[in-house]
Structure formats: C-alpha cells, structure tokens
Symmetry: D2
Subunit: 245 residues, 4 copies
C-alpha cells in the first residue's frame, strides 16, 4: 500500500477570531475545515499549523514530516517571519509541494517563489465565478465538472503578475466582466507549486465540494516524487561522476 501523503494546512487564523460571521462559518478555522476534508478523503494524513504558534507552527521537524503544505493568509502577511519563509522555501526546493489559496497570492512565500509582485485586481460584490478547465488530462482535474460554478465570490482579475504558468489548469469568468488564471502550476527546485484562486474567508468556499476536491487532487499530485537531491555548490574534479556508486 502506498504511504499516505502527509499534508500540513497552514492558516494565519485571524479573521476567524476577529469576525463573528466568519467564525460562524468556520468555528475551528478554515484550516480545520480543509484538514477535515483531506483526512476523510483517504490516502492522506492532514494536520494544521497557524501563525500564532511558535515558529508559526512550521518548525524544521514539522516541515521535514510534510509532503505538501497548504497556505492561507490575508491580513497578517507581514507578520510571517523571514526566517520561516526561508525555511519553507528550502523545503519546496528540496521537494515539498506547496498549495497557495486565494489571498495567499500576496503571501511572502508565494512572492518569494515567483520573483514577481503577484498583484491583481479585485472586487467584493458576491458575483458569480465560472471556472473553465484548460488542462484536461491533468490529475488536478480528476472527478470534477467542467465548468465549476461558484455562485458568490470575490472577484480577482488580470493582469495577475506571476511568471507564465507552466500549466494553466483553470481560467475563471466573473459576472462583472473580468477573467483570471485561477489554477496555475510551477516547479521550484524539486517541488511543485499550485496556486488556486477560490477561497474567500466570508463566502463558504471551503465547504464547496468541488473546491475541496481540487485541493485534495492537488495534494496527491504534489506529493514528492523522483530524485529529490538538489546539488548545492558542488565542485567536481574531472571524472568525479565516474566514481559515484
């Protein structure tokens, strides 16, 4: 039997504490809602970590035991310590997958991995979003309808300042007239990066079964595979590679 994918769901966990409406939707936080879905999905073992824990809950030990890290942040991006961003980046380079949800587009770790501003346009009028699949045959699309429809969402619009995605999996249509590349992948070192747009704190997006299924699929797809060793600054004498075992 394949080993379960070890997922850590990270949430800044502030909105849920400050806002009663949000707390009503996610009494234990968005991280708990996501982790609960993943633990029920099979083949996965999810735990959580939050901003206010020591080291933001992301110690070396936790990351060493994480195959895929899910990240949700919004109002407290600035409070994430640089040292922890460095640490997460190192683990991605070494093969850990990372999934960035919604407002995590402006997180330090996503901007670090992209090398761009990750800025975009936005609007909150609870408009309708229709996500079209532009990558049939991709594991992330498994078992999903096309399109995926979300009746009420915050709008995100182009230009989304990220490097050209290696794979564009979903493109969103918003009632107000904008479009957005809502599901995109990149590789950094041996690790896979997936940005997924839906996930506002007020609309109950993380209770939508299709949204949860996308996240679940992405966890399976991002589980580390292949060679994980990234040579760092290796000086090779002539013929060094002939002597390897």
């Amino acid at each position: 039997m394949a080993k379960p994918v070890r997922v850590t769901v990270w949430n800044e966990f502030r909105h849920e504490k400050k806002n009663k409406e949000i707390a009503a939707i996610y009494p234990d936080g968005m991280h708990a809602a996501i982790a609960s879905h993943l633990n029920a999905a099979g083949g996965m073992k999810a735990r959580t970590a939050t901003l206010d824990e020591p080291d933001h809950g992301l110690t070396e030990d936790v990351l060493a035991g994480t195959d895929v890290l899910i990240w949700w942040g919004h109002m407290a991006h600035g409070e994430v310590r640089e040292e922890i961003v460095d640490r997460v980046q190192s683990h991605v380079i070494a093969g850990m997958g990372i999934i960035l949800l919604h407002s995590a587009h402006f997180s330090k770790i996503f901007r670090r991995l992209m090398g761009t501003t990750c800025s975009l346009k936005w609007r909150e009028v609870a408009e309708k979003e229709i996500l079209w699949c532009t990558k049939p045959g991709h594991p992330i699309t498994e078992g999903l309808p096309d399109p995926i429809i979300l009746e009420h969402t915050e709008m995100y619009g182009e230009f989304f300042d990220v490097p050209e995605p290696e794979e564009t999996i979903f493109i969103s249509h918003f009632a107000g007239g904008e479009v957005f590349r809502s599901g995109c992948t990149w590789r950094r070192g041996a690790g896979k990066v997936f940005y997924f747009r839906p996930g506002h704190e007020t609309y109950p997006i993380f209770k939508d079964p299709n949204v949860l299924k996308v996240i679940e699929n992405a966890c399976r797809w991002e589980a580390p595979a292949g060679r994980q060793d990234i040579t760092v600054s290796h000086r090779g004498e002539i013929g060094w590679f002939e002597k390897q075992k």
Copy 2:
C-alpha cells in the same frame, strides 16, 4: 533603414463572394482590408493570395518572398491541397512567421503545426467580448488599451485543444459565460506562430482599429530573426564542427 516586413495575407475568399451582407462589409475581401491597413502602417509591404489562385497563390516564389503569412479560412479548409500545406509548414520551420485568424483554428496548416484537433466551443449571438492582456511587455500589446472591447462577436469557448501556449497574451471574457485564450504564441522550428481569435466574417471585426493594431504588431514581432538554418539529417564525423568557417 530597416527593410520592410513582407507580409502575405491569405484568404479563402468565398464568404465574400457568396453572401451579399459580407460583401457589403468587405467588398474586396477581408484580405484586402487587412493588407490595406498594413500597407498604411509603415515599415511593411503587404500583398494578398487566395484559395482559387493557382497553388492557392502560395507558390515557392511567393513564400520565399514572405516574412509573415496571415491566414483566414472557414468554409473551405478541406479544399486546401496537402502539398501546399507541406510547403507552408516548411517555410514556417525555416523561419517565416504565421498568423492564424479566428476560424483558421480549424485550418489544415494550424492543425499541422499544433499536432492537436484545435477544436473549441462556439456560439453566434453577437455577444460582447472583452479581451484582457495577460502579457504586458510583449511587443504584440504595443499601443493597445487593456481591455480591448468588441461589442458584437461570435463566441469561442474553452477547452481550446492546442498545446500549452508558450505565451498567452490575451484571454477573452464572453457575456454568455465562457472564456477563451484568444492570443497565443508558439515556435515551430525557426518560425513564430500567433493565433488570434477575433475575426468573424459577418461582424466588421477587421475594421476595428485595435484588432488591426494587434495584427500589425504581430507582423513586426514575427519577422524572421536570428539564425534561420535548421539542420536536416546531418551526419557529423568527430570534429566536423571544428572545421566550419
């Protein structure tokens, strides 16, 4: 002074002959409307070629004197001879640019260059199209507003069965709910390929200044550059490359 870009605008030129409404919009054909814009733009020299000319107007001589070929076809894709498709493909590989407009998504030459079906969804109810720029800094976007708005168009919707674009320059929003990757580029051999979605025969799309500007920009961008020699089946003895001049 830089040499002018030599453009050949190809049109199957059938709709304009069969349909009075279309003839009223484009009395000399869509190719003439496009060529006329390009000839007025400066730095370019455009001529035309059509399906019913000998060799569809695309003799070796014509192609040898063409830097960028523009292609519009729809009802007569099947009448284009394989031999001419081979010839056009060879010239693209050798460095000639090619621009495919609208219904040319189903042309033999585009399907040949893509290796896929190039199929898509469509609807003709004169709905509104909004093209968003997803590639600022690309020469094709020069001097254009963002978004580009077309009040009445035929809809094209995803999934558009093409290989992952190397550059996605425009994504369209349609009033009816669909999205489409409307401006995409790929390279084949030494030649550049640009697919541009707008361009229906009934709506006067090729009189829209922004649409014409995109085509003009693409012609400048696709003009051949760099080394053009593609080695075909070369057998190299040890050290052959040291003896080159």
Copy 3:
C-alpha cells in the same frame, strides 16, 4: 489496489529479422525485451504489437485497452499507414500516453504530434553518452543515478527540431562534442508525450537497467489521469452549462 497500467509496446520489428547481430541481442525483438521488463516491474501489464500484424497490431480495440503506447521504429517509418497514425493521434488526444524511443524521432506519429521536422544530427562510432538530470522532482527520475552513463551509443546532436519541451528531464553529453535534449515531455490534448533518446538497435541499450527504469517510470507517469473528455466542435447555447448535471 490501483489498477495496473496497461502498456502496449510497438516495434516495427524488422532489424531483428534482417540482421543476425541484432537478433542475437534481441532474439524476440526489442519490444519483447521491454515488455518483459515492464511485466516484471509490478503494477503494469504489457503486451506487444508490430508493423506486420493486421492494422500494425493497433486496432481500435487494442488502443482502447492501452493506457500507454511505447513506439520504436527506424527503417520502415514510411510503411506505417496514415489511417493508423490518425487513430493513434486520436487516442493520445483522448488521454493515452505515448513514449517515443530513439529513432522514433522520425516516426510519422511523433512528427504529427510535434508539428515540426524532428530532425537532428547523428553519428555511429560507439561513443560514450552521459545523461544529466535537469528535472529533479519529476517522477520519471525516480530511483535513477545522476548522471546515467552509457558507454557505447549512437550520437544524436542538436539542433533537435521539436517545439520547446514543456519539461526537459535529461540532457546528454557525447564524447565527440555534441549535446542533446534526451528526455523531453509535451502534452497533446489530454495525453502525455515523452521522447527518450537512448535505444539503438545494435548497442544493447534495452538491457541497461537505468534505461529500462526510465521507461518504466514514464509508463507510470503517463497513465491517464484527470478529466479525459475533449469537447469537439460543441455549439453551446447561452446557459447550456448551467443545465449540466
């Protein structure tokens, strides 16, 4: 338990019949050597098909029961019927994986899928090849040394006329001075395409455990996943997608 990946190993199977030296290395053909490895690898079920069988062994039934097709051809590319090339292409678009080995770079199906000439430089002096991994973290690199060394091979050199690979997994160094992108992937429709350079008929390449491991990894990676339906020419009325179940 996951369903086994169903692999069909196709070989033109002519060299082995005409040349005693090659027959001595591969008495039942290269396809048999590869299939035998895959059947022993676990989680896979491999069968074979060859040029001289009816429909080249690639009937609709065979392809409908194939998750991944492996292709080896060289001296008889021209004998493969267009109708069978069409059929294989359709299955790739619909999600079947395809692996092209060595001289299959000039097969009709590879050129069809790429849209280019797929030409390259070559030399047969039994020189040494060193394949370097440029994509750690890719499932195809699982369990392999870096570099992979092949003491005696035919050389293939750049420029390799294929579209920019979506992933470049291995780059080869040849003793005579050339380099080559030896392991490359692309998507076509819902199907994955992997070109792998090693595999000459005279050198016993398909007995090398690393070469076989790459092929085995590629079979697992290419097994169909995600949504497989590619819409072909669908006309959508306004709101059609709201009525889907």
Copy 4:
C-alpha cells in the same frame, strides 16, 4: 530612426582591483570592456555602474534611464544592499530588461527573480566549452556560428537550480563531461531576463567576439516593448473598464 537602447553595465569591480592578472586583461574593468563593445555596435548607448559608487551606481534616476541592465558579480554578492535589489526588481517588473552574466547566477537579484537557489556544479581547469544553439530563429542567435567554441573556460554543470526556462537558447558541452543550459530566458512582469553563462574573470571571455555579439543581441531583444503598466492592487467597481479612455 529608432531610439538607441540605453544600457547600464554593472560590475562589482573588485577582482580587477585586487588581482594583477585580471587587471592586465581588463585594465578598466569588465564593465568597461562590455560597454565599449556596445557603444561601438550601433543603436545603443551604454554606461557603467559599480558596487562602490553611492547606491551601487543604481539610483532611481539611473534605472529610470536604463532600458537594459547587465549584471556581473562574484566575490561581493553579499555586499549588495537589499534596498537596491528591491529597486532593480521593481524596474524589471516595470519593463526593464536584465542580463545576468556567469557568476551572477548567485547574485541576490537573480535569485530574487528566479525564486530558487540558482546553485550549480563548477570546476576551474581551463577546459573547452562548446555552446550549441537550441533556438534558431531567436533574435539572440543573430549572426552567430553554431556551435560557439571557447577554448578555455571554467566549467558550470547541471543541475542548474532555476525554474524551467521559457526559452533555452544555448546548451554547453564541457570537455570534462558535463553539460549546462548556458543561455536561458524568462519574463518577470513586463521585463525580460536573460542568463548567459560565459564570462569568467580570468579567461578573456569578454574579448571573444561571439560572446560580445550574444550580449549585444540580448540588449536589442530585451529593450522594453508593448504595454508596460503592471496594475498593482487595483480595486475595480463593476464596469470600471468601460469608463477608461
């Protein structure tokens, strides 16, 4: 007449001051050698900037007047101030081109733009390098031989920890057995990024006419084009885009 491309050649300019052999090759620094070539090439205006000037010579004014920035650094990467790295990154996002030479692979600005470690293998035994063109038709390859041969260089070997290049233009073969993706491009925001491997401080690489020609071509190719405006955090009310002029 087209406006000249305004180039700023940045050099940390330390090796030349500390080491007599290097000073003998580049009495005014490598930056001066490169700028001198560019100023003689036509259509370009190059100036220089160095680490020990105020703001490392890269004030807002200097960058605002720079179309393409060339970067050479090695022993003093750590002395480049974060604030200046931020400033250069902002200008790249806004459309300024950047060219990174040789040991600049480990510069703060390159690592910032890539989001990876940019590590690699290396060796200094004055071995031979052969650069093969993998992108005919790219403006950077204009007027160059294929291959480009450098008799004595420092070796750089894969794995080169950068994101999958958008274009791989040159791949190097080293006498000792390694390969390297030596000419690669990416976009960040509206700006183009080109990494070019040759350029060691001891070997007189920046006196090689082919190396200089590559740099010159890259300057022309990277000159800003297209729309340059990257929206930052724009909140759009419904219909805002209809009201634009």
